[in-house]
Symmetry: C2
Subunit: 514 residues, 2 copies
């Protein structure tokens, strides 16, 4: 309880309440499977449970926690629940939670080196570690591996023309990473067009800029296009749900004939819809030829690159200009933690930097200032999550986690395949299985509704080429074979009911028709 109404909580209160919170979290995660995976509340449930106005006097911690139980927990969709198979995993692990605790406790803000040297320096180091774990081409790494055995060379802001211009930073989301890449590409292309024709106005160039992506790319590509005010072409995919070079090339040539200016291509390593892969080698060659910025979004599936057996996926990365993956999805780190690497960091800094006096400091020429990498000026000490989690699991532990999810997806897919009422959509490569009831979409739509309404399991839909299907993602940190069997049993039971009902209806319709 607070010592005084006007001071919130003192050090000793925090020692007690903080330790209670640690137990609350451990209890929650230990016993999570006893809860419904989705809540039973309806929109608008919360406001009638809370006062219309904030309290005048401070309240006790006990009262606040009572309200967490009473009002918040009943409205939680439990992303860490073993029956949660929606979206993609929401990364979470104890080392990551500990990092968030430390980040909050230190209460620092890192926008320049001077404002927080440790935060500024740990970030490229952890992005370097992860980039190496993923075998990214050396040109993306914050530190040139060729110099590993040489004396330390400090990171600088001003090495835009040095031998090694790659780098990486943590951004708030994949959406921000893709927007930043697009803005850097836009700045580059506008600069070269202005050089070609100095009299041209920026607005004239802008209204001709076109970016290309697959129609299965994440919606944030479209959003980035809205913000950057450029046209976005969402191109069709092949039978493996992959964007191919020929499709891209035809669209680019048609656009150029209309006088438009292609400038950016966003490929996807693991689409949200069905975890498909674009053909980076084909797309990359076209980008190189046409001088387009090539970004690859590997928000979820990029994490798999830490396993050797998945590194074939980077075929074509020699043409890539920037790449992002979100350890807050599939590497056990809490949101937000989007890793963004770029071949030419100066392209990003040129597109994003403004430099007021109050942020200048005596080390500015020697030090990297991370504020130039994203939209926000300030940043939490986010790299602690990477550092703690990678160190606590080790490369082997993280590989084990990824491999286990991929193995379980295959286990689940084999259960689906054994029941001939179902079919799999797309390839099962990572931790996602897309499936449907054979036949009309409405059967699968009904199955989805029943599954989610049951509160026993949570899955979400997708649709590609008019085929409606259910995405089943392996999400729980400690998912095991038992979970696959339970999930399949739940699905089978609901499918039984739906198909029974459907057969009744169709046969009665047939009868009526007769």
């Amino acid at each position: 309880m607070s010592k005084s109404n006007t001071t919130g909580m003192d050090h000793e209160d925090f020692r007690r309440c903080g330790k209670d919170m640690v137990d609350f979290i451990a209890d929650y995660l230990t016993n999570i499977s006893e809860r419904r995976v989705t809540p039973e509340v309806e929109p608008g449930y919360l406001r009638p449970m809370l006062p219309r106005n904030a309290p005048e006097k401070g309240e006790s911690w006990e009262d606040i926690m009572k309200d967490v139980e009473r009002a918040i927990m009943p409205g939680i969709t439990h992303w860490q629940h073993p029956r949660f198979h929606a979206y993609f995993p929401a990364g979470n692990s104890y080392p990551s939670i500990l990092a968030e605790m430390l980040s909050s406790g230190l209460g620092i803000v890192g926008f320049s080196w001077a404002a927080s040297p440790a935060c500024t320096e740990l970030e490229p180091i952890t992005l370097d570690w992860l980039g190496r774990m993923m075998s990214l081409p050396a040109c993306f790494l914050p530190f040139n591996p060729a110099h590993d055995n040489e004396p330390e060379i400090s990171i600088t802001n001003t090495d835009c023309d040095s031998q090694h211009s790659g780098g990486g930073a943590l951004l708030g989301s994949a959406s921000e990473s893709i927007l930043v890449a697009m803005l850097a590409a836009r700045t580059n292309k506008m600069k070269s067009k202005r050089l070609e024709k100095p009299s041209i106005e920026d607005g004239q160039i802008l209204s001709k800029l076109v970016c290309y992506t697959s129609k299965l790319a994440h919606s944030c590509v479209e959003k980035a296009g809205l913000i950057a005010m450029v046209k976005v072409r969402q191109l069709p995919v092949d039978e493996h749900y992959s964007l191919r070079g020929k499709t891209l090339d035809e669209c680019i040539q048609a656009d150029k004939q209309k006088g438009l200016i292609p400038f950016f291509v966003c490929g996807t390593l693991g689409t949200t819809s069905c975890c498909s892969l674009d053909n980076f080698e084909e797309l990359g060659q076209i980008c190189r030829r046409e001088n387009l910025w090539f970004h690859v979004d590997g928000a979820y599936a990029g994490a798999a690159l830490i396993c050797n057996e998945f590194q074939y996926l980077t075929k074509g990365f020699e043409y890539v200009d920037s790449f992002n993956t979100n350890p807050n999805k599939w590497l056990l780190m809490n949101f937000d933690c989007s890793c963004f690497w770029v071949r030419d960091k100066c392209a990003v800094i040129n597109a994003m930097s403004v430099d007021p006096l109050y942020l200048q400091h005596k080390h500015a020429e020697k030090a990297t200032d991370l504020r130039h990498w994203g939209i926000a000026l300030s940043r939490r000490f986010r790299s602690l999550k990477l550092w703690f989690t990678i160190r606590s699991y080790g490369i082997e532990g993280l590989q084990h986690y990824i491999r286990e999810h991929c193995r379980l997806a295959k286990v689940f897919a084999s259960l689906i395949n054994e029941d001939d009422r179902f079919e799999i959509i797309g390839d099962v490569v990572f931790g996602l299985v897309c499936f449907r009831l054979k036949g009309k979409n409405k059967l699968t739509q009904k199955l989805l509704l029943y599954l989610n309404d049951s509160g026993q399991i949570h899955v979400i839909p997708s649709m590609v080429n008019e085929i409606f299907f259910i995405r089943f993602a392996i999400c729980a940190k400690d998912a095991c074979e038992y979970d696959m069997h339970i999930a399949f049993q739940i699905i089978q039971t609901h499918a039984d009911g739906i198909l029974f009902e459907y057969q009744k209806t169709t046969s009665s319709t047939s009868i009526r028709k007769i």
Copy 2:
């Protein structure tokens, strides 16, 4: 220690390590004043202290924490230190840390109502609380206070034409808030221009759009202009460092004569340079007349509106279209927590929304989906910080905190005023005092350098109208009068040395001249 190299840390490990971390944080914040406020490291200090590659095997928690002490703590600029007077406060308090812990522990991601009802619903409730605490005009509040006594009406996505179209959300930073406001304004203006002249191309309109702000506005306005690709006019301020209506009007008229299209004005409530205020009433009237979007950035000083005696500052808010303040600055909440209110939420949603199938859900028509409010799709459960902190302190506790910082700024200013070698720059209204040594800028520049090099105190510079000065911000949560006296003593001691040296130099120069 981990039970296994491949599983990171189990529930029982976390109970132990989490409680140790609680003590680590409490110890850190209890004893922080024993440390230097700024670190002694040089750029590039960290990498030689850490391995070039991530570890293959998981490491023990004890080893990780040893490295926190060995490698991270020596590189921390201590924002919570009683001698930290740089930038603005980095909000921090125990209830806020507890909220971050719970947010991490739950590990949910809130981008749609279905993905997390509690996260989606608590956010507008807490923005409503805070908006009422600040006496914001009712049009900005997520819930219309006129309906307080009526049965609950749920928040909807689709009420764009209803009586009450205001609302609020938490964004990642003031930079994002201002960018979102600018994008909404851009979309509105382009739409109306297209209606006037359907044949006009978007690029043609865009190349004519102009936004206006004071030259003391935060650099993120310029950055938002870079991203939105619009011209930004940084206008001169009056003798109180305030942007006035006449200055704005003259620039607008000149731009219109050139065929340009004014569309957005960003006023500041508490500039970063010297905490000055623009004249919202004068600016607002012009915005109304010219049909411009009027945003007010109150990132720091907006917090003062929770105290009645500061509510005169909202004079002119009847013309304001959107407003932001960052409780992560001056309301004891950890970064990131930027509150953004808007008079017409549909203007924001129209500018920002994309809607793929995998994010659609059966409640979509009845529920607000917060993903339409910002750049990122995903979001942490950030409103817990607002909820915990407001409840734990109560309105009175937070008011007390704000008033105490304002009072201490006046105490410090009176110390400065008593020493006639110094002068105050601007008005001391909030928790910031700007001062300098009388005479040439280089004296104050030297003083700044000496103060920061000493490690005894941390302050940063600013410069307005060619006058270089030092910003002294009251930052520590529990700052007291003693801290003001100590800070002033440190400043006096360094000033003594500099002025002594300077007098020696000038007198020896005089001698040489003779």
